[in-house]
Symmetry: C2
Subunit: 117 residues, 2 copies
Amino acid sequence: MTAHALPLVDISACSTPLVREPLAAAQAVELSRTFKALGDPTRLRLLSLIAAHEGGDACVCDLTEPLDLSQPTISHHLKVLREAGLVVSERRGTWVHYRIVPEVLDRISGVLAVADR
Amino acid sequence: MTAHALPLVDISACSTPLVREPLAAAQAVELSRTFKALGDPTRLRLLSLIAAHEGGDACVCDLTEPLDLSQPTISHHLKVLREAGLVVSERRGTWVHYRIVPEVLDRISGVLAVADR
């Protein structure tokens, strides 16, 4: 079993809502990488396919058919999501499985929120 | 008074959390435009300067100094934020004022949220 569980982007310092105080330059750089990863329709659909899959965990074999894209294209986009810390991957037997990182999604959600949670 | 109040991107159909159901292709395209606009550190800092400014409304004259960038550069980034529907602008006398669109920020925040609000 090979686990790739360490996101390369640490956005833990970026969870203060935008409306509360201006982002520092370093926080803005970190956060912009995450948003850049989300700024592609295929990656958004992949992320939502994984997130909405039972248990927030999907085999790469569940992801190719709904998007009708080649395996290398899917793999490229999954790599970008993984490097942004939005998903983690784990090999189980033949297939690689992906799952979302709820804390990261909630953190960036919190940065954008205006209404009190 | 000139008001530029109509965002070019309508993301009203994109507010269902990613974890609840997979995004449709058209929704993903709309939403990815908004995230692309957020995928730049200068634009994120501009957005947070506007959002954190008193009343969520800032004169363009309040935005140039903190970022130490030229007026044309600032204007370019503000235009991208405006076209993404994240801010609206209004001329008042000499200066153009920008304010955030809370509903848009809350909507994209809601798409990313995993924890119940």
